[in-house]
Amino acid sequence: MSTQSNGQNGNGNKLVGEVVSAESDVGSSVSGRVAPPPGQMKKADFVSDQEVRWCPGCGDYAILNNVQKVMPELGIPREKIVFVSGIGCSSRFPYYMNTYGFHGIHGRAPAIATGIKCANPDLSVWVITGDGDALSIGGNHFIHAIRRNLDINYILFNNRIYGLTKGQYSPTSEFGKKTKSTPSGTIDYPINPLSLAIASESTFVARSIDIDVKHLGTIVEAAAKHKGISFIEVYQNCNIFNDNAFDYFAERTVRSDRVLYLEHGKPMIFGKERNKGVRMNGAHPEIVTIGENGITENDLLVHDIYLQDPSVAFMLARMEQPEFPQPVGIFRAIERPTYEDMMVDQIEASIAKSGPGSLEKLIHSGDTWVVE
């Protein structure tokens, strides 16, 4: 409990003085300088002065590097960008971006971001989260922030493990996985982040891979340009607690055979020889080989990211190795009014109807009477 006498004797000034020296050994987290105009910014303008403290070899570095690279190309003034995160390795991300940043509490980044975006729709708001943060403790906020369709970019680093707490299974860990907390293997079935995002009415749904640098950059840029919620799942390697977790499809030598790069307007083709494709067989997808049994490109499913009906996007989200290639790219990108725009519209409509609120009138509203 407080000792109130301290409040009156100016002790606080002394407290402030005590640590002036502590300041000198670490640099400030503030640039202290205004960023160049959007057209002249470089990647370096988005690198903060803080030492990056992820484990050497972590997939997070590649994602950070990519996001920093994409930022100058978005044409958004640096001061209008806010990164918000929860808790976990990935959630340290905002400290390394020389933008505004808010490192929140476990699972709640989407809720904090919602408040920021509603309060100032002019800001470019980014949520950085992990599989535990977004889908376990923050599962509820994941669903609701997405369904509201705020214009927020939402990047989930999926490493299928709890890294910061040193290696327990996560909600995306494969069934039966042996971890510190599951020595006999997990007995809960994993959740599919894209399925959940689509079920939550996400207007933009995409997936990429940390080591596929070029692809990731394209996806991040597309997400930033989408008006409305933009959800990206990034497969991210945790080289300490879940190393090589995605090698079975993402490793360079097998990737072209096991990953399907989705491209809008193009038939779904994959494989080193570019001769494998996805075709509908009744209500189910199947893998076919072009040139065999008279199959041509015309038989293949053509990707359409603008379909209002989410069924095909959902079907693609369910395709997995080894039965299917692992799809990456943009699954869905549809337009829908955003939450913050509608919120502002309602306020403007109210003012248009009855004029700006008058405090005097408000206080004197209702049945009043005068005592002489």
């Binding site: 301290n6 409040g7 808010f102 920021i116 800001l123 609120g357």
Partner: protein, 620 residues
């Protein structure tokens, strides 16, 4: 008294008697419209110039089984020609619309009090629901009261049947207006106010409007023309301070106070909330005022509601969240984040009976510890509490002022009694409202996220969107001045002390505690929050009797006013009435080493004046 079905043709000459104060309780099934009836009587009494104070008392179930004891809904109203501060200890009049309402409320009725009973509802089935072995109307158990047995359902049906195009069931639903009409005559109230309300409310359902209007007038005329009542009463205008007034509940005043804070600070209001009794009316009220730029966000849960408010604060709006005790329990981690990031935030807790779900519709003050100490770590926040429904307006403004000035979460502890209770509100002049100055840092050359104001120790408020001030905040310990992540032991010790010191310094910004009555003496009754009315009424009464009793009421619970220690030391005994097991009492015992006496009542109901009088008398 005999039951009269048909009104006589001649109008008897009735006697009009003057009364100073009357307490009426309307009680019926939760579907009987008792809250509405009570509210209408209150509005009319306020408009005719009486002082008023109300206590709605309703079940947590929306519609418990009809006629059952848990389904009883009550509304108590005290109206007076004097200055009153409570809804009255004991009703003088009980309106009982069914046996269950009689059973639940009769023990509270004063000896010899007036009972107005709808005898039509005293069917064998309803008597059984109310656990009556014999019919109280016949077994002489009501002999100690003045009983008026009225067949309200039948009278109302006879009056409306054929006059409105409604089913019997729909007609029956207007019988509360018949009862209200009877009471309006009995206490000499005009019907205009309610008739206007009916016409506006049912503008789209003319038949319902007509039915309610006929019911009200018929009830009035019935009481006037029959011999059921030989006397009726009048209560003159109250001798209260001159000015313009309106009736207001605590929740309404809270919502208006936050809108006012937004207007005078120039910062838009963002209200993040999840529906919860008894706080939801604040969300309803604020969502109606979009023309003030108010943004209301009905979140997916309590945690999202407070986190969104924190986000809005970070972006420069007034971050406000409102809930009741269980919701605060869920929000606490996020409130800790606001303490760590040193952002302004206001948390409204309309306290209700706990723990857990507890008594959702009943009042309690048991969340004081939760507000002061309920988070992990050393996590100080400012805590304030309004004392009356109208005081909610001013304390809401005060919470926003302190949150911005100290860059800190502020708890605003209302309760169910304040929230739903009503009193006349002396309307303030807008230009006399306190000023709220919000300063934003804009200069990149002098910006350090955790540098501090020399006077308040508040850190600078730097909004996203300001060029050159890009910085990162978060829940991890921050280095003094730079705001960088920092795990240094000395730094942590310093930051813990700084955060505490900042809250302690708010003491320089809050008024001294005032003593009502002599500045020293035998007994001081110390209260906080909604107990103000009962405590001050009891103490004033005893002071008029020449007893050595004073009262003091805390609106600031953390930090306490600077002179609290001196005030306590000037009395032989300090008694602390609280609707908890002695939380404020524990705090002052710990801080001031005073042998204060807790006086606990945790029944979901406010203190009666006489309960406090009796307790104080033990120490005189």
């Amino acid at each position: 008294m005999s039951t009269v079905i048909e009104p006589p043709v001649t109008q008897p000459d009735k006697h009009l008697e003057e009364l100073e104060t009357v307490t009426i309780r309307f009680a019926g099934d939760s579907g009987d419209g008792m809250q509405l009836t009570g509210t209408q009587f209150t509005n009319t009494s306020a408009v005719v110039g009486n002082d008023i104070s109300t206590l709605p008392d309703f079940p947590a179930e929306i519609r418990a089984p009809a006629g059952s004891l848990p389904g009883v809904s009550g509304f108590q109203l005290n109206f007076s020609s004097q200055d009153i501060k409570t809804p009255g200890d004991q009703p003088n009049v009980l309106v009982a619309m069914n046996p269950a309402a009689l059973k639940v409320n009769l023990p509270d009725l004063e000896e010899g009090g007036t009972l107005i009973i709808n005898i039509d509802s005293f069917t064998p089935e309803n008597l059984k629901y109310a656990n009556y072995a014999t019919n109280p109307l016949d077994d002489n158990s009501l002999a100690g009261y003045r009983v008026h047995k009225l067949p309200i359902t039948t009278l109302n049906m006879n009056a409306l049947k054929g006059n409105v195009d409604l089913s019997r069931k729909e007609i029956d639903r207007s019988k509360n207006f018949f009862a209200l009409g009877v009471l309006y005559w009995l206490y000499d109230r005009p019907m205009e106010n309610t008739l206007n309300w009916i016409r506006a409310k049912f503008a789209k359902s003319p038949e319902l409007a007509k039915a309610n209007e006929i019911a009200l007038k018929t009830g009035y005329n019935f009481a006037d023309t029959t011999e059921v009542f030989t006397t009726h009463f009048t209560v003159k205008k109250a001798q209260i301070a001159p000015g313009k007034y309106r009736k207001i509940t605590g929740n309404e005043a809270t919502a208006l106070g936050f809108i006012a804070a937004s207007q005078i600070s120039g910062r838009p209001l963002f209200y993040g909330s999840y529906p919860i009794t008894p706080a939801s009316d604040i969300l309803h009220e604020l969502s109606r005022h979009k023309s003030f730029g108010v943004k209301t966000f009905q979140a997916e849960d309590e945690i999202a509601a407070v986190c969104a408010a924190i986000g809005a604060s970070f972006a420069g709006q007034i971050g406000l969240t409102g809930t009741s005790g269980p919701g605060v329990a869920l929000k606490q981690e996020a409130i800790g984040l606001a303490v760590m990031t040193e952002l302004p935030l206001v948390i409204v807790n309309v306290q209700r009976g706990g723990p857990s779900t507890g008594l959702p519709t009943k009042t309690e003050q048991a969340d004081l510890f939760q507000a002061v100490w309920g988070r992990n770590g050393e996590c100080p926040a400012i805590v304030i509490a309004p004392a009356t429904p109208a005081d909610c307006f001013h304390m809401a403004i005060e919470s926003v002022r302190l949150a911005f000035k100290y860059m800190s979460p502020v708890f605003y502890l209302s309760d169910g009694y304040l929230a739903n209770g009503a009193e006349p509100w002396a309307l303030p002049e807008v230009q006399e409202l306190p000023q709220i100055e919000v300063k934003f840092h804009t200069d990149p050359t002098t910006f350090m996220p955790y540098a501090r104001d020399a006077e308040t120790l508040a850190r600078p408020y730097a909004l996203p969107g300001t060029p050159g001030l890009e910085h990162r905040i978060g829940g991890i310990e921050k280095q003094h001045i730079t705001g960088n992540v920092n795990y240094d032991p000395e730094n942590h010790h310093l930051m813990v002390k700084l955060r505490q010191e900042k809250i302690d310094r708010a003491v320089n910004d809050i008024p001294l505690l005032e003593v009502m009555g002599e500045q020293s003496g035998k007994v001081l009754v110390l209260g906080w929050g909604s107990t103000y009315g009962s405590i001050s009424s009891a103490v004033e009464k005893m002071q008029r009797e020449g007893k050595s009793v004073s009262a003091a009421h805390l609106r600031y619970l953390n930090p306490f006013p600077r002179n609290l220690g001196e005030v306590l030391a000037a009395f032989d005994t300090v008694i602390v009435p609280e609707m908890n097991l002695g939380q404020l009492c524990t705090m002052i015992r710990a801080k001031y080493l005073v042998d204060a006496v807790p006086f606990s009542k945790v029944k979901g109901r406010p203190f009666q004046i006489r309960e406090i009088v009796r307790k104080v008398e033990e120490y005189l």
